[in-house]
Protein backbone atom coordinates (compact mmCIF):
# COMPACT_ATOMS: atom_id res chain seq x y z
CA UNK A 1 0.00 0.00 0.00
CA UNK A 2 0.90 3.66 -0.21
CA UNK A 3 2.49 5.04 2.93
CA UNK A 4 2.24 8.67 3.99
CA UNK A 5 3.09 10.78 7.02
CA UNK A 6 1.19 13.78 8.24
CA UNK A 7 2.92 17.08 7.60
CA UNK A 8 4.15 18.99 10.66
CA UNK A 9 1.39 20.97 12.38
CA UNK A 10 3.17 24.28 11.84
CA UNK A 11 3.35 23.70 8.08
CA UNK A 12 -0.34 22.77 7.92
CA UNK A 13 -1.28 25.88 9.90
CA UNK A 14 0.69 28.06 7.49
CA UNK A 15 -1.09 26.45 4.52
CA UNK A 16 -4.54 27.29 5.79
CA UNK A 17 -3.69 30.53 7.60
CA UNK A 18 -5.59 32.80 5.16
CA UNK A 19 -8.85 30.81 5.36
CA UNK A 20 -11.85 30.97 7.67
CA UNK A 21 -13.59 27.78 6.62
CA UNK A 22 -11.80 24.63 5.47
CA UNK A 23 -12.58 20.99 4.80
CA UNK A 24 -10.21 18.33 6.11
CA UNK A 25 -10.70 15.46 3.69
CA UNK A 26 -9.57 11.96 4.58
CA UNK A 27 -9.19 8.80 2.54
CA UNK A 28 -10.43 5.41 3.71
CA UNK A 29 -7.81 3.23 2.05
CA UNK A 30 -3.99 3.28 2.32
CA UNK A 31 -3.58 6.35 4.53
CA UNK A 32 -6.18 4.97 6.93
CA UNK A 33 -4.16 1.80 7.38
CA UNK A 34 -0.91 3.73 7.95
CA UNK A 35 -2.53 6.12 10.43
CA UNK A 36 -1.89 9.23 8.37
CA UNK A 37 -5.20 10.34 6.85
CA UNK A 38 -8.20 8.20 7.76
CA UNK A 39 -11.36 9.25 9.57
CA UNK A 40 -9.64 9.20 12.96
CA UNK A 41 -6.72 11.35 11.84
CA UNK A 42 -9.14 13.77 10.13
CA UNK A 43 -11.08 14.21 13.39
CA UNK A 44 -7.91 14.70 15.41
CA UNK A 45 -6.37 17.22 13.03
CA UNK A 46 -9.66 19.13 12.71
CA UNK A 47 -9.96 19.60 16.44
CA UNK A 48 -6.29 20.55 16.78
CA UNK A 49 -6.75 23.22 14.13
CA UNK A 50 -9.90 24.59 15.77
CA UNK A 51 -8.18 24.77 19.13
CA UNK A 52 -5.04 26.39 17.81
CA UNK A 53 -6.90 29.06 15.87
CA UNK A 54 -9.26 29.72 18.72
CA UNK A 55 -6.29 30.17 21.06
CA UNK A 56 -4.98 32.96 18.89
CA UNK A 57 -8.42 34.59 18.62
CA UNK A 58 -8.79 33.76 14.95
CA UNK A 59 -11.67 31.29 14.85
CA UNK A 60 -11.89 28.81 11.99
CA UNK A 61 -14.68 26.49 10.87
CA UNK A 62 -13.37 23.04 10.04
CA UNK A 63 -15.57 20.51 8.26
CA UNK A 64 -14.64 16.84 8.17
CA UNK A 65 -15.26 14.23 5.49
CA UNK A 66 -13.65 10.96 4.52
CA UNK A 67 -14.26 9.06 1.30
CA UNK A 68 -13.34 5.46 0.62
CA UNK A 69 -10.78 6.29 -2.06
CA UNK A 70 -9.80 9.86 -2.78
CA UNK A 71 -8.02 8.77 -5.96
CA UNK A 72 -11.34 7.97 -7.67
CA UNK A 73 -13.49 10.73 -9.12
CA UNK A 74 -16.82 9.04 -8.35
CA UNK A 75 -15.94 8.71 -4.68
CA UNK A 76 -14.60 12.25 -4.40
CA UNK A 77 -17.88 13.48 -5.98
CA UNK A 78 -19.68 12.24 -2.86
CA UNK A 79 -18.33 15.19 -0.85
CA UNK A 80 -18.97 17.96 -3.38
CA UNK A 81 -21.49 19.66 -1.09
CA UNK A 82 -18.98 19.97 1.74
CA UNK A 83 -16.35 21.28 -0.67
CA UNK A 84 -18.80 23.88 -1.98
CA UNK A 85 -19.15 25.30 1.54
CA UNK A 86 -15.48 25.95 2.30
CA UNK A 87 -12.70 28.35 1.21
CA UNK A 88 -10.07 25.62 0.91
CA UNK A 89 -9.54 21.87 1.22
CA UNK A 90 -6.83 20.16 3.22
CA UNK A 91 -6.50 16.65 1.83
CA UNK A 92 -5.00 13.89 3.95
CA UNK A 93 -4.87 11.49 1.01
CA UNK A 94 -1.74 10.44 -0.89
CA UNK A 95 -0.52 12.69 -3.71
CA UNK A 96 -2.80 10.90 -6.11
CA UNK A 97 -5.85 11.66 -3.96
CA UNK A 98 -4.87 15.31 -3.51
CA UNK A 99 -4.62 15.69 -7.29
CA UNK A 100 -7.93 13.98 -7.99
CA UNK A 101 -9.58 16.34 -5.54
CA UNK A 102 -7.79 19.37 -7.01
CA UNK A 103 -8.79 18.39 -10.53
CA UNK A 104 -12.44 17.91 -9.61
CA UNK A 105 -12.74 21.22 -7.77
CA UNK A 106 -10.59 23.46 -9.91
CA UNK A 107 -11.87 26.72 -8.41
CA UNK A 108 -10.88 25.66 -4.89
CA UNK A 109 -7.37 25.59 -3.41
CA UNK A 110 -6.60 22.00 -2.38
CA UNK A 111 -3.56 21.54 -0.10
CA UNK A 112 -1.72 18.36 0.89
CA UNK A 113 -1.84 17.59 4.61
CA UNK A 114 0.47 14.58 4.35
CA UNK A 115 3.76 13.75 2.69
CA UNK A 116 3.41 10.64 0.53
CA UNK A 117 6.54 8.62 1.19
CA UNK A 118 6.56 5.17 -0.43
CA UNK A 119 4.90 1.87 -1.30
CA UNK A 120 5.42 -0.43 1.64
CA UNK A 121 4.12 -2.72 4.34
CA UNK A 122 3.70 -2.69 8.11
CA UNK A 123 6.82 -4.10 9.77
CA UNK A 124 5.25 -4.00 13.21
CA UNK A 125 2.63 -1.94 15.04
CA UNK A 126 3.08 1.67 13.91
CA UNK A 127 6.12 1.06 11.69
CA UNK A 128 5.98 0.84 7.91
CA UNK A 129 8.86 0.02 5.58
CA UNK A 130 9.44 0.65 1.90
CA UNK A 131 9.19 -2.39 -0.35
CA UNK A 132 8.58 -1.29 -3.93
CA UNK A 133 9.79 1.54 -6.15
CA UNK A 134 7.16 1.03 -8.85
CA UNK A 135 9.96 0.88 -11.43
CA UNK A 136 7.81 -0.87 -14.03
CA UNK A 137 10.40 -3.60 -14.65
CA UNK A 138 10.16 -6.03 -11.72
CA UNK A 139 13.45 -7.63 -10.72
CA UNK A 140 12.22 -9.70 -7.74
CA UNK A 141 12.58 -13.05 -9.54
CA UNK A 142 16.36 -12.53 -9.54
CA UNK A 143 16.69 -11.43 -5.93
CA UNK A 144 14.78 -13.93 -3.84
CA UNK A 145 11.84 -11.57 -3.53
CA UNK A 146 13.84 -8.71 -1.94
CA UNK A 147 13.81 -5.52 -4.00
CA UNK A 148 17.33 -4.04 -4.43
CA UNK A 149 15.94 -1.09 -6.37
CA UNK A 150 14.52 0.50 -3.22
CA UNK A 151 15.77 -1.62 -0.33
CA UNK A 152 19.44 -1.17 -1.28
CA UNK A 153 20.29 2.46 -0.46
CA UNK A 154 22.00 2.72 -3.85
CA UNK A 155 19.62 0.58 -5.91
CA UNK A 156 22.46 -1.73 -6.97
CA UNK A 157 21.65 -4.72 -9.19
CA UNK A 158 24.80 -6.86 -9.01
CA UNK A 159 25.53 -7.28 -5.32
CA UNK A 160 26.42 -5.22 -2.25
CA UNK A 161 28.58 -2.10 -2.24
CA UNK A 162 31.82 -2.10 -0.28
CA UNK A 163 30.33 -0.14 2.58
CA UNK A 164 28.24 -2.82 4.29
CA UNK A 165 28.58 -2.55 8.06
CA UNK A 166 29.56 -5.41 10.36
CA UNK A 167 26.78 -7.94 10.69
CA UNK A 168 25.31 -7.11 7.29
CA UNK A 169 23.87 -3.68 8.03
CA UNK A 170 23.49 -0.83 5.56
CA UNK A 171 26.23 1.76 5.00
CA UNK A 172 23.86 4.59 5.79
CA UNK A 173 21.93 3.14 8.72
CA UNK A 174 23.15 0.60 11.28
CA UNK A 175 19.49 -0.28 12.01
CA UNK A 176 18.74 -1.29 8.43
CA UNK A 177 19.69 -4.60 6.89
CA UNK A 178 21.84 -4.53 3.77
CA UNK A 179 19.38 -5.62 1.08
CA UNK A 180 22.07 -7.67 -0.66
CA UNK A 181 22.83 -9.60 2.52
CA UNK A 182 19.09 -10.37 2.75
CA UNK A 183 19.08 -11.41 -0.90
CA UNK A 184 22.15 -13.61 -0.37
CA UNK A 185 20.58 -15.34 2.65
CA UNK A 186 17.24 -15.90 0.91
CA UNK A 187 18.82 -17.35 -2.21
CA UNK A 188 21.21 -19.46 -0.15
CA UNK A 189 18.25 -20.91 1.75
CA UNK A 190 16.63 -21.81 -1.57
CA UNK A 191 19.86 -23.24 -3.00
CA UNK A 192 19.71 -20.61 -5.76
CA UNK A 193 22.93 -18.60 -5.27
CA UNK A 194 23.72 -19.16 -8.95
CA UNK A 195 21.04 -16.54 -9.65
CA UNK A 196 23.05 -13.97 -7.65
CA UNK A 197 26.26 -14.88 -9.51
CA UNK A 198 24.77 -13.87 -12.86
CA UNK A 199 25.59 -10.50 -14.35
CA UNK A 200 22.66 -8.14 -14.72
CA UNK A 201 22.86 -5.41 -17.34
CA UNK A 202 21.93 -1.82 -16.53
CA UNK A 203 18.27 -1.42 -15.78
CA UNK A 204 15.82 0.14 -18.18
CA UNK A 205 14.86 3.16 -16.12
CA UNK A 206 12.40 4.14 -18.82
CA UNK A 207 10.35 0.96 -18.62
CA UNK A 208 7.57 3.22 -17.48
CA UNK A 209 7.46 6.36 -19.60
CA UNK A 210 6.84 9.12 -17.08
CA UNK A 211 4.21 10.24 -16.42
CA UNK A 212 3.04 6.63 -16.31
CA UNK A 213 -0.07 5.28 -17.97
CA UNK A 214 -1.32 1.69 -17.91
CA UNK A 215 -4.02 0.48 -20.29
CA UNK A 216 -5.81 -2.71 -19.19
CA UNK A 217 -5.63 -5.51 -21.72
CA UNK A 218 -8.90 -6.08 -23.54
CA UNK A 219 -10.60 -9.32 -22.56
Amino acid sequence: MIIAERKPMEEIRQLIAPYKKVLVAGCGTCVTVCWAGGEKEVAMLASQLRLARSAEGNEIVVLEATVERQCEREMVAEIKDEVAEVDAVLSLACGSGVQTMAEMFEDKPVFPGVNTTFIGMPEKEGLWVEMCGACGDCFLDRTGGVCPVVRCAKGLLNGPCGGTRKGGKCEIDPDKDCAWVLIYRRLEKQGRLDVMRKYYAPKNYRAVKRPGKVQAAKA
Binding site: L157, G159, G162, G163, A201
Partner: protein, 297 residues
Amino acid sequence: MAKSFREILKTKDFVVTAECGPVKGSSVSKAVEHIELLKDKVDGLNVTDNQSSVMRYPSLGVCLLIKEHGGEPILQVTCRDRNRLALQADLLFAHSRGIGNILCLTGDSIDVGDHKEAKQVFDLDSVQLIQLVHTMNSGKDMAGNELDGGIDFCIGTTATPSADPLEPQLIKVEKKLKAGVSFIQTQAVYELDELRRFMEFVRNIDGKVKVLAGIVPVIGAKMAAYMNENVPGVFIPQRIIDELAQAPKGTGVAKGIEIAARMIRQMKEEKICDGVHIMFIGREEKVPDILGAAGLL
Protein backbone atom coordinates in the same frame (compact mmCIF):
# COMPACT_ATOMS: atom_id res chain seq x y z
CA MET B 1 56.93 7.24 -13.95
CA ALA B 2 58.23 6.56 -17.43
CA LYS B 3 56.22 3.39 -17.89
CA SER B 4 52.47 3.22 -18.19
CA PHE B 5 50.62 1.71 -15.27
CA ARG B 6 49.38 -1.07 -17.55
CA GLU B 7 53.03 -1.94 -18.32
CA ILE B 8 54.02 -1.72 -14.64
CA LEU B 9 51.26 -4.16 -13.68
CA LYS B 10 52.68 -6.69 -16.10
CA THR B 11 56.31 -6.33 -15.16
CA LYS B 12 56.75 -5.19 -11.56
CA ASP B 13 56.69 -7.58 -8.60
CA PHE B 14 55.37 -5.19 -6.03
CA VAL B 15 53.31 -2.29 -7.35
CA VAL B 16 52.81 0.85 -5.28
CA THR B 17 50.11 3.45 -5.78
CA ALA B 18 49.00 6.36 -3.65
CA GLU B 19 45.94 8.52 -3.45
CA CYS B 20 45.52 12.24 -4.04
CA GLY B 21 42.41 13.74 -2.51
CA PRO B 22 41.32 16.86 -4.43
CA VAL B 23 40.77 20.06 -2.47
CA LYS B 24 37.50 21.81 -1.83
CA GLY B 25 37.98 24.81 -4.04
CA SER B 26 39.71 25.84 -7.21
CA SER B 27 43.18 26.34 -5.78
CA VAL B 28 45.34 23.52 -7.11
CA SER B 29 48.71 24.51 -5.65
CA LYS B 30 48.53 21.92 -2.86
CA ALA B 31 47.59 19.17 -5.34
CA VAL B 32 50.54 20.13 -7.54
CA GLU B 33 52.86 19.96 -4.51
CA HIS B 34 51.62 16.44 -3.74
CA ILE B 35 51.96 15.37 -7.35
CA GLU B 36 55.53 16.69 -7.54
CA LEU B 37 56.38 14.97 -4.27
CA LEU B 38 54.92 11.58 -5.17
CA LYS B 39 54.97 11.11 -8.94
CA ASP B 40 58.40 9.50 -9.09
CA LYS B 41 58.04 7.52 -5.87
CA VAL B 42 54.94 5.52 -6.81
CA ASP B 43 53.70 3.68 -9.91
CA GLY B 44 50.38 5.44 -10.16
CA LEU B 45 48.43 8.19 -8.46
CA ASN B 46 44.73 7.69 -7.81
CA VAL B 47 42.48 10.70 -7.71
CA THR B 48 39.26 10.34 -5.74
CA ASP B 49 35.88 11.30 -7.17
CA ASN B 50 33.97 13.51 -4.73
CA GLN B 51 35.31 11.26 -1.99
CA SER B 52 32.92 10.46 0.87
CA SER B 53 30.24 12.25 -1.17
CA VAL B 54 31.88 15.57 -0.32
CA MET B 55 31.92 17.98 -3.27
CA ARG B 56 35.48 18.83 -4.37
CA TYR B 57 37.71 19.66 -7.34
CA PRO B 58 37.07 16.96 -9.94
CA SER B 59 39.01 13.75 -10.27
CA LEU B 60 39.45 14.45 -13.98
CA GLY B 61 40.99 17.84 -13.22
CA VAL B 62 43.64 16.49 -10.87
CA CYS B 63 44.33 13.59 -13.28
CA LEU B 64 45.11 16.18 -15.98
CA LEU B 65 47.45 17.98 -13.58
CA ILE B 66 49.23 14.67 -12.92
CA LYS B 67 49.67 14.17 -16.67
CA GLU B 68 50.98 17.72 -17.07
CA HIS B 69 53.55 17.08 -14.34
CA GLY B 70 54.72 13.79 -15.81
CA GLY B 71 52.92 11.39 -13.49
CA GLU B 72 50.66 8.41 -14.15
CA PRO B 73 47.07 9.12 -13.09
CA ILE B 74 44.41 6.57 -12.15
CA LEU B 75 41.01 8.14 -12.64
CA GLN B 76 38.52 7.11 -9.97
CA VAL B 77 34.98 7.06 -11.28
CA THR B 78 31.97 6.46 -9.06
CA CYS B 79 28.40 5.76 -10.14
CA ARG B 80 26.87 8.16 -7.63
CA ASP B 81 26.95 11.50 -9.44
CA ARG B 82 26.60 10.73 -13.15
CA ASN B 83 24.17 8.81 -15.31
CA ARG B 84 25.31 6.66 -18.22
CA LEU B 85 25.50 9.60 -20.63
CA ALA B 86 27.70 11.68 -18.34
CA LEU B 87 29.95 8.73 -17.48
CA GLN B 88 30.57 7.91 -21.13
CA ALA B 89 31.25 11.55 -22.02
CA ASP B 90 33.79 11.80 -19.18
CA LEU B 91 35.54 8.63 -20.35
CA LEU B 92 35.86 10.00 -23.90
CA PHE B 93 37.31 13.22 -22.54
CA ALA B 94 39.72 11.44 -20.17
CA HIS B 95 41.04 9.21 -22.94
CA SER B 96 41.43 12.10 -25.36
CA ARG B 97 43.66 13.85 -22.81
CA GLY B 98 45.93 10.88 -22.25
CA ILE B 99 44.50 9.36 -19.07
CA GLY B 100 44.98 5.62 -19.41
CA ASN B 101 43.72 4.08 -16.17
CA ILE B 102 40.35 3.96 -14.52
CA LEU B 103 39.20 2.67 -11.16
CA CYS B 104 35.50 1.75 -11.23
CA LEU B 105 33.67 2.17 -7.92
CA THR B 106 30.10 2.23 -6.69
CA GLY B 107 30.68 5.39 -4.64
CA ASP B 108 29.61 6.24 -1.11
CA SER B 109 26.01 7.13 -0.46
CA ILE B 110 24.97 10.79 -0.63
CA ASP B 111 23.94 10.41 3.02
CA VAL B 112 27.54 10.33 4.28
CA GLY B 113 28.58 13.54 2.50
CA ASP B 114 28.12 17.30 2.69
CA HIS B 115 25.23 17.63 0.20
CA LYS B 116 22.79 15.30 1.86
CA GLU B 117 19.76 16.62 -0.01
CA ALA B 118 21.18 15.89 -3.46
CA LYS B 119 19.64 13.36 -5.83
CA GLN B 120 21.98 10.39 -6.04
CA VAL B 121 22.26 8.72 -9.41
CA PHE B 122 23.50 5.10 -9.42
CA ASP B 123 22.15 4.65 -12.94
CA LEU B 124 24.86 1.97 -13.25
CA ASP B 125 26.57 -0.10 -10.57
CA SER B 126 30.30 -0.80 -10.46
CA VAL B 127 30.05 -4.12 -12.36
CA GLN B 128 28.01 -2.45 -15.08
CA LEU B 129 30.53 0.40 -15.19
CA ILE B 130 33.37 -2.07 -15.76
CA GLN B 131 31.30 -3.65 -18.53
CA LEU B 132 30.68 -0.20 -20.00
CA VAL B 133 34.41 0.58 -20.18
CA HIS B 134 34.98 -2.70 -22.04
CA THR B 135 32.18 -1.84 -24.47
CA MET B 136 33.72 1.57 -25.12
CA ASN B 137 37.21 0.08 -25.30
CA SER B 138 35.85 -1.94 -28.22
CA GLY B 139 34.82 1.21 -30.06
CA LYS B 140 31.11 1.42 -29.28
CA ASP B 141 28.96 3.30 -26.83
CA MET B 142 26.45 1.65 -24.52
CA ALA B 143 23.64 2.09 -27.01
CA GLY B 144 25.67 0.24 -29.64
CA ASN B 145 26.64 3.32 -31.67
CA GLU B 146 30.08 3.43 -33.30
CA LEU B 147 32.49 5.88 -31.66
CA ASP B 148 34.53 8.20 -33.83
CA GLY B 149 37.69 7.46 -31.87
CA GLY B 150 37.29 4.95 -29.04
CA ILE B 151 38.96 4.68 -25.66
CA ASP B 152 41.54 2.31 -24.23
CA PHE B 153 41.59 2.13 -20.45
CA CYS B 154 43.43 -0.18 -18.11
CA ILE B 155 40.55 -1.10 -15.81
CA GLY B 156 40.63 -1.57 -12.07
CA THR B 157 38.13 -1.85 -9.29
CA THR B 158 37.79 -2.10 -5.51
CA ALA B 159 36.86 -4.79 -2.99
CA THR B 160 36.39 -5.06 0.76
CA PRO B 161 38.30 -8.13 2.01
CA SER B 162 37.12 -7.52 5.58
CA ALA B 163 33.40 -7.35 4.79
CA ASP B 164 31.09 -9.10 7.25
CA PRO B 165 29.40 -11.20 6.01
CA LEU B 166 32.05 -11.81 3.38
CA GLU B 167 30.20 -14.14 0.99
CA PRO B 168 27.89 -11.58 -0.69
CA GLN B 169 30.91 -9.29 -1.17
CA LEU B 170 32.87 -12.12 -2.79
CA ILE B 171 30.06 -12.83 -5.25
CA LYS B 172 30.30 -9.18 -6.29
CA VAL B 173 34.09 -9.48 -6.65
CA GLU B 174 33.61 -12.60 -8.77
CA LYS B 175 31.30 -10.65 -11.09
CA LYS B 176 33.85 -7.84 -11.35
CA LEU B 177 36.62 -10.32 -12.20
CA LYS B 178 34.44 -11.98 -14.81
CA ALA B 179 33.58 -8.60 -16.32
CA GLY B 180 37.36 -8.18 -16.61
CA VAL B 181 39.72 -6.04 -14.54
CA SER B 182 43.49 -5.74 -14.59
CA PHE B 183 43.83 -4.62 -11.00
CA ILE B 184 42.01 -4.40 -7.68
CA GLN B 185 42.79 -1.76 -5.07
CA THR B 186 41.20 -2.97 -1.87
CA GLN B 187 39.57 -1.07 0.94
CA ALA B 188 41.83 -0.58 3.95
CA VAL B 189 43.31 -3.85 5.19
CA TYR B 190 44.43 -4.30 8.81
CA GLU B 191 44.22 -8.09 9.20
CA LEU B 192 46.64 -9.99 7.00
CA ASP B 193 44.67 -13.21 7.38
CA GLU B 194 41.69 -11.51 5.80
CA LEU B 195 43.91 -10.45 2.93
CA ARG B 196 45.32 -13.98 2.51
CA ARG B 197 41.80 -15.43 2.42
CA PHE B 198 40.78 -12.81 -0.14
CA MET B 199 43.82 -13.51 -2.32
CA GLU B 200 43.05 -17.21 -2.34
CA PHE B 201 39.50 -16.49 -3.50
CA VAL B 202 40.69 -14.13 -6.25
CA ARG B 203 43.43 -16.46 -7.47
CA ASN B 204 40.93 -19.30 -7.88
CA ILE B 205 38.99 -17.18 -10.35
CA ASP B 206 41.65 -15.04 -12.00
CA GLY B 207 45.36 -15.81 -12.00
CA LYS B 208 46.39 -12.56 -13.69
CA VAL B 209 44.64 -9.73 -11.91
CA LYS B 210 46.95 -7.67 -9.67
CA VAL B 211 45.71 -7.04 -6.16
CA LEU B 212 47.00 -3.96 -4.35
CA ALA B 213 46.12 -4.00 -0.67
CA GLY B 214 44.65 -0.78 0.68
CA ILE B 215 46.76 0.91 3.33
CA VAL B 216 45.10 3.61 5.42
CA PRO B 217 47.39 4.68 8.25
CA VAL B 218 45.57 5.40 11.49
CA ILE B 219 47.19 8.04 13.65
CA GLY B 220 45.31 7.74 16.91
CA ALA B 221 42.87 5.61 18.87
CA LYS B 222 40.17 8.27 18.60
CA MET B 223 40.57 8.51 14.85
CA ALA B 224 40.34 4.72 14.63
CA ALA B 225 37.08 4.70 16.57
CA TYR B 226 35.74 7.51 14.38
CA MET B 227 36.69 5.66 11.20
CA ASN B 228 35.08 2.43 12.39
CA GLU B 229 31.89 4.32 13.01
CA ASN B 230 31.83 6.64 9.99
CA VAL B 231 33.94 5.42 7.10
CA PRO B 232 32.06 2.82 5.04
CA GLY B 233 33.93 -0.46 4.64
CA VAL B 234 36.68 0.29 7.18
CA PHE B 235 37.13 -2.05 10.16
CA ILE B 236 40.13 -1.33 12.41
CA PRO B 237 40.84 -4.13 14.89
CA GLN B 238 41.08 -3.48 18.63
CA ARG B 239 44.69 -4.69 18.60
CA ILE B 240 45.73 -1.69 16.49
CA ILE B 241 43.56 0.73 18.46
CA ASP B 242 45.33 -0.46 21.65
CA GLU B 243 48.76 -0.04 20.07
CA LEU B 244 47.86 3.53 19.11
CA ALA B 245 46.43 4.27 22.54
CA GLN B 246 49.72 3.24 24.15
CA ALA B 247 51.84 5.51 21.95
CA PRO B 248 53.21 8.54 23.86
CA LYS B 249 51.41 11.83 23.29
CA GLY B 250 52.44 13.57 20.09
CA THR B 251 53.75 10.41 18.43
CA GLY B 252 50.48 9.28 16.82
CA VAL B 253 51.51 10.07 13.26
CA ALA B 254 54.84 8.30 13.67
CA LYS B 255 53.08 5.30 15.21
CA GLY B 256 50.52 5.19 12.39
CA ILE B 257 53.31 5.28 9.82
CA GLU B 258 55.21 2.57 11.68
CA ILE B 259 52.17 0.24 11.75
CA ALA B 260 51.44 0.86 8.07
CA ALA B 261 55.06 0.26 7.05
CA ARG B 262 55.20 -2.93 9.14
CA MET B 263 52.16 -4.32 7.32
CA ILE B 264 53.52 -3.37 3.91
CA ARG B 265 56.87 -5.06 4.63
CA GLN B 266 55.13 -8.24 5.65
CA MET B 267 52.85 -8.18 2.60
CA LYS B 268 55.87 -7.80 0.37
CA GLU B 269 58.18 -10.27 2.08
CA GLU B 270 55.55 -12.98 2.31
CA LYS B 271 54.28 -12.17 -1.19
CA ILE B 272 50.72 -12.01 0.15
CA CYS B 273 49.55 -9.62 -2.57
CA ASP B 274 50.86 -7.83 -5.66
CA GLY B 275 51.37 -4.43 -4.13
CA VAL B 276 49.81 -1.72 -2.01
CA HIS B 277 47.63 1.30 -2.48
CA ILE B 278 48.36 3.96 0.13
CA MET B 279 45.55 6.28 1.14
CA PHE B 280 46.76 8.97 3.52
CA ILE B 281 44.18 11.60 2.70
CA GLY B 282 45.01 15.01 4.06
CA ARG B 283 48.57 13.91 4.86
CA GLU B 284 49.81 13.11 1.38
CA GLU B 285 53.15 14.73 2.26
CA LYS B 286 53.76 11.89 4.74
CA VAL B 287 53.41 9.14 2.11
CA PRO B 288 57.19 9.16 1.37
CA ASP B 289 57.79 8.49 5.09
CA ILE B 290 55.68 5.34 4.83
CA LEU B 291 57.43 4.30 1.63
CA GLY B 292 60.82 4.89 3.29
CA ALA B 293 59.93 2.96 6.43
CA ALA B 294 58.55 0.10 4.33
CA GLY B 295 61.75 -0.06 2.26
CA LEU B 296 60.03 1.01 -0.93
CA LEU B 297 62.13 4.06 -1.80
